[in-house]
């Protein structure tokens, strides 16, 4: 309670661990959304989280940056435990980027302003530097020519790539993806996935909630399967797709692969 967040030595501080959830539980009123979640993510690891809708996968990753509050158990992000402390929440949010299903770009700002907003206001970066930084990431997602436009003038795939660039501008240590391709037209899925693959290849710690099993096969270090608020199974993608251990996993894979 009293110590400042930076000086908190997490009890099991291990510099190679990015996120640690232990016995994490969450309720919406009487509804038990997340049950005893235990999950450890190492730095540089790429996780794909899948499961039927309503299984709690989105809720789980939204707990990591406190868009949702958990009621029991611990979440330690980058050595800092999530509590009610505003300073810790803001510190974790600075270091954890998130990409949403519906992009959630700020429609009243240009693309460039979308990208420079947080670096200027949260990281206190000088405007010029923030703009150079933004242009660098816009080039990375291959749309530098759209910098002066407004989000409404871009296609869905372009918007989602801008959203990824917006998160990257904060130089995050961890990236969360909450069904980033579910709201896209099929022909735009590929360009977003390509961006995500290249990000993965650079060693970014990533947690992706997605139904794109091709992406999971290609880049995931581990696939986590959730159902009814529980982690049912986690395994390397080769193992996960070839030999699912659990019936429910098999059923789910059958449904989405056929």
């Amino acid at each position: 309670m009293s110590a400042s967040p930076a000086s908190i030595p997490a009890p099991f501080a291990d510099p190679t661990i990015a996120i640690e959830m232990s016995e994490m539980n969450k309720w919406y009123g009487a509804f038990h959304v997340l049950r005893d979640i235990d999950l450890t993510v190492r730095r540089g690891e790429r996780l794909v989280i899948c499961g039927p809708s309503g299984s709690g996968k989105s809720t789980m990753i939204r707990c990591i940056n406190r868009l949702e509050e958990h009621q029991r158990g611990r979440i330690v992000v980058d050595g800092v435990e999530l509590t009610n402390d505003l300073k810790r929440i803001e510190e974790i949010r600075r270091d954890v980027g998130m990409v949403f299903q519906h992009f959630n770009l700020f429609p009243h700002l240009t693309i460039l302003e979308n990208l420079t907003l947080a670096p200027i206001w949260v990281r206190r970066m000088p405007r010029r530097e923030a703009e150079e930084n933004a242009m660098f990431y816009l080039e990375r997602v291959r749309i530098p020519d759209q910098a002066g436009k407004y989000p409404g003038q871009l296609s869905g795939g372009q918007q989602q790539r801008v959203a990824i660039a917006r998160s990257l501008c904060m130089n995050p240590k961890i990236m969360l993806f909450d069904e980033p391709t579910s709201a896209l037209d099929p022909e735009m899925v590929k360009e977003v996935l390509e961006t995500m693959v290249s990000l993965a290849e650079e060693g970014m710690t990533m947690l992706c909630v997605t139904h794109e099993m091709g992406f999971a096969r290609q880049v995931a270090d581990r696939v986590v399967f959730m159902d009814h608020g529980q982690i049912i199974e986690e395994a390397h993608p080769d193992e996960f797709f070839k030999n699912p251990r659990h019936d429910r996993t098999r059923l789910f894979l059958n449904q989405i692969l056929n």
Binding site: L86, G97, M98, F100, L105, F106, P107, W121, M170
Partner: protein
């Protein structure tokens, strides 16, 4: 078929067009029995009312004759009175030689008001411009620093109406934003406080708030701190405007999707920067038409300050009518004052319509 392929005679075409237009009008007026009945009904009403009105307004009226006796003899309206007294009507008892000052003030306020409704001009610079303008207005009206001093008691007419409107709205706007945010707060005490304040102010007639302000303030405050009538009315108008603006802005806040809050939070923006940078700019854009409407309501409402003894347009009209040299043409004077209010409010309403039709900006 043959007739169609023939070239029309050059001067026959316009007549033909005129004829079909007439035909269409005739169909609209008498096409169905109901329309025929309506035409007869409204036509009869207009025939009975319009000619005598026109006769009074224009034909029998004295327009510019500076001699008061011309009005005494005329059957029609006495516009020469309004013409002769226009300075007093517009600027009240403001010293004659200094009337150019309130005139400039009116123009500046109207220009700034129109300018401020455009979302494109919403920058920090606009705020600075407003503050600078208000200071400029106060200096120009009140004097000092090289200008002759004029106490607020001698302010009157249109500038009083306009100053009360813009200053009340200018102060009420940020207060209204705070109240709207408070009403959506998760903290019960904050929320309840805002609800009680907003709903009780909205539940009261403005006149009763003006009365309370003018009766109670001398009792509430120690004598040394007691503001003059002008400021008291301004406080009442501001509280009133803030409650209404708060509800308008709350409507805009409700239109912002949860995703905007989440995206801003995920980037690490704390509460106030989030509101200032992301939520409010979008919320206010949504409610521009409603905001313009509130401005119109406030322009109309400031006319009530006459009841607590302030010298607005209506009271300066009444004062002008007291001149014993003239027959007192009250109807003409109030028609003139009504026309000023109508012009202000109607043009502002059309401007707001125009903004609304142009749709949300920057998409």
């Amino acid at each position: 078929m043959k007739a169609l392929s023939l070239p029309m005679p050059a001067e026959a075409l316009p007549r033909r067009v005129r004829f079909t237009a007439l035909l269409r009008l005739g169909k609209l007026l008498f096409g169905t029995p109901l329309n025929g009945l309506l035409t007869v009904l409204f036509g009869a009403m207009l025939v009975v009312t319009v000619p005598p009105m026109l006769r009074w307004l224009i034909i029998d009226a004295v327009l510019f004759d500076p001699d008061p006796d011309a009005c005494r003899e005329a059957v029609g309206a006495c516009w020469s009175f309004v013409y002769a007294k226009s300075g007093q009507l517009l600027f009240g008892i403001y010293p004659l030689a200094e009337r150019w000052r309130p005139a400039i003030v009116c123009l500046v306020i109207l220009a700034l008001l129109g300018w401020s409704v455009r979302p494109a001009s919403w920058t920090a610079r606009l705020l600075a411009l407003w503050i600078a303008t208000l200071a400029f207005i106060v200096w120009l009206m009140g004097g000092g620093f090289g200008l002759a001093e004029v106490p607020t008691a001698s302010w009157g007419g249109l500038p009083v109406t306009l100053i009360l409107t813009v200053v009340a709205i200018g102060i009420a706007f940020p207060v209204g934003i705070l109240l709207a945010l408070a009403r959506r707060s998760t903290m019960p005490a904050v929320r309840i406080g805002a609800v009680v304040l907003i709903e009780s102010v909205r539940g009261l007639p403005l006149l009763s708030i003006l009365f309370v302000a003018s009766i109670m303030m001398p009792l509430f405050l120690p004598e040394a701190l007691l503001p003059d009538k002008f400021v008291r009315a301004l406080v009442a108008l501001t509280i009133f405007a803030a409650a209404y603006l708060a509800e308008v802005i709350r409507g805009g806040l409700q239109a912002i999707s949860k995703g905007q809050y989440e995206a801003a939070a995920a980037l690490g923006l704390p509460f106030w920067p989030m509101q200032y940078l992301i939520i409010l700019p979008q919320a206010i854009r949504v409610v521009i038409p409603a905001l313009a409407n509130t401005v119109i309501v406030m322009i109309k409402n400031t006319s009530l300050v006459l009841v607590v003894g302030l010298f607005d347009l209506i009271s300066s009209g009444k004062a002008a009518l007291a001149d014993p040299e003239w027959p007192s043409p009250a109807a003409e004077t109030f028609l003139f004052i009504g026309a000023i209010f109508f012009a202000l409010s109607f043009s502002f309403a059309r401007f707001a319509d125009f903004l609304e039709r142009r749709g949300p900006v920057s998409h």
